[in-house]
Symmetry: C2
């Protein structure tokens, strides 16, 4: 039952719809700390079973009828979609009657890439009256802040790499690829594709072994940003302590993160890893934005 | 001594300035077959010693004074710069008095990437009165023709991959990166950086092993094009039989080559390799061109 008034309107919950990985726990913890009401819905076969003791309701991915009914019953004011998900097989989805009506739209969007698929899902919720909120909205403290983050001070030429790198990632955005690249000064040597940031950094380490990096391999920077077209509501790029460790293994000098548009998981551990490896860590407003 | 008249003007040679690899031999052979006069100048420590029996004069990379004098003495009408070259060490260049006057320009350009370096070198020759000619000009039969090249017929959806892929490579051109990518339909999964086409294809093979390719891994295409800003006079992208073999190992369906702007080495062997692996091979005018 809904009660009137500004104060009690706040008590209506946001639904945290959880896929796999540790990210849902970070979001839940941040929302709890901020005192924002929420309910947890976890996807069967994908989300972490440890969500159960936190009070999660479990649903299969294809049970959209059940999902929308639950959101209405709980008077949810919006939905956060969070967590990792591989392309699901149809057999594992347990598609219900309502779910089937979305299937054609889903399959058409899947063909056009992650961005299109996620934008499509966002529309489904919005048409049902549940705005999709981004992590940046419900847990802004999880995103990268602006400015220097660790002990090491970024050299001035890192800004040249950042300017050129952000411009390059912007240019790639219409093609639904490129959330990260590695540059040595103004020379871009590697762009992230479907292989992900870890493999990107391994590739740079390999180029270093082969002596094929420009500038003698000095001053390399990992640049991580959100695609312009990327729906930050459902698919923010993420950096964690392991990213920093791999950047160090690749012999890089620092990591530049697009501020407010990249999730920074375990920020204390990330900063500690950067300080330990003598990497600078910098949050920058860059690129053309959303 | 120079003689007058249209006919004898043709007898003035073009200088083929040879760096490493097999490409200089292909160019020399094509020019010989076409009956075009040339002289061979080979770079010490970089070019193949087998150029000596063909009549090559040998010079160190830094001996620009000697080089320009030789070009004048032989009344050369232009220069072709051909072959592969790693970034040279200063110590190996034996820079002569004239060479030193270009060093600052060279080092400044090197920092800005391969494209800038090669454009800079092109200017040096042109200022001395020796236009730099491209392989496409002196040996056009070495470039990819337009149309289907092998036995396999490209499916219609390969054209969608080509359109989107060429547009993506065009967008990357200002950043001096991206001569190749791999797409599955409209989904681009990997973009070539400093690692080169071979490593790009290995990456796609790895994504396939991990089951991370879109569309169940069906219909992948390697797209190879020249950067817009790339000086085709000195740095054309190249495809050879090994490229085709690696594309087949990555499980791709075909290879699309930008016509007239990519060198196709050993074309019979390339077509045979494609036919053997059931890969389609297509030359397409694409991208915004030079």
């Amino acid at each position: 039952m809904r009660t009137a008034g500004a104060c009690s309107a706040d008590a209506r919950p946001i639904a945290v719809l959880c896929a796999g990985g540790a990210l849902p726990f970070a979001v839940i913890e941040a929302m709890r700390a901020a005192g924002r009401p929420f309910i947890i819905i976890a996807i069967e076969g994908i989300a972490d079973p440890a969500l159960t003791p936190l009070g999660a309701s479990w649903l299969y991915l294809g049970q959209l009828g059940k999902l929308f009914a639950l959101l209405r019953r709980e008077s949810c004011t919006g939905v956060v979609l969070i967590g990792s998900m591989n392309r699901p097989t149809l057999g594992s989805m347990r598609i219900d009657a309502i779910g089937w009506t979305y299937l054609f739209d889903f399959l058409r969007n899947v063909r056009r890439g992650d961005d299109a698929m996620l934008r499509g899902m966002t529309r489904w919720f919005e048409v049902q009256g549940f705005p999709v909120l981004g992590v940046a909205e419900v847990a802004p403290e999880l995103t990268a802040p602006e400015g220097r983050l660790g002990r090491m001070v970024p050299p001035r030429e890192a800004l040249a790499a950042a300017m050129r790198g952000f411009a390059c990632l912007d240019a790639l955005s219409p093609f639904d690829i490129g959330q990260a690249l590695v540059a040595f000064g103004e020379r871009i040597v590697a762009i992230e594709g479907a292989e992900g940031t870890d493999a990107l950094l391994e590739r740079v380490a390999e180029l270093r072994k082969q002596g094929r990096l420009p500038r003698g391999g000095r001053g390399g920077v990992l640049l991580k940003a959100a695609k312009i077209g990327q729906s930050l509501k459902v698919d923010m790029p993420v950096i964690g302590p392991r990213t920093i460790e791999r950047a160090a293994s690749a012999g890089l000098e620092g990591v530049i993160i697009q501020a407010h548009r990249v999730l920074l998981l375990e920020i204390e551990a990330v900063v500690a890893a950067a300080d330990k490896a003598n990497l600078f860590l910098l949050g920058l407003k860059g690129g053309k934005g959303p």
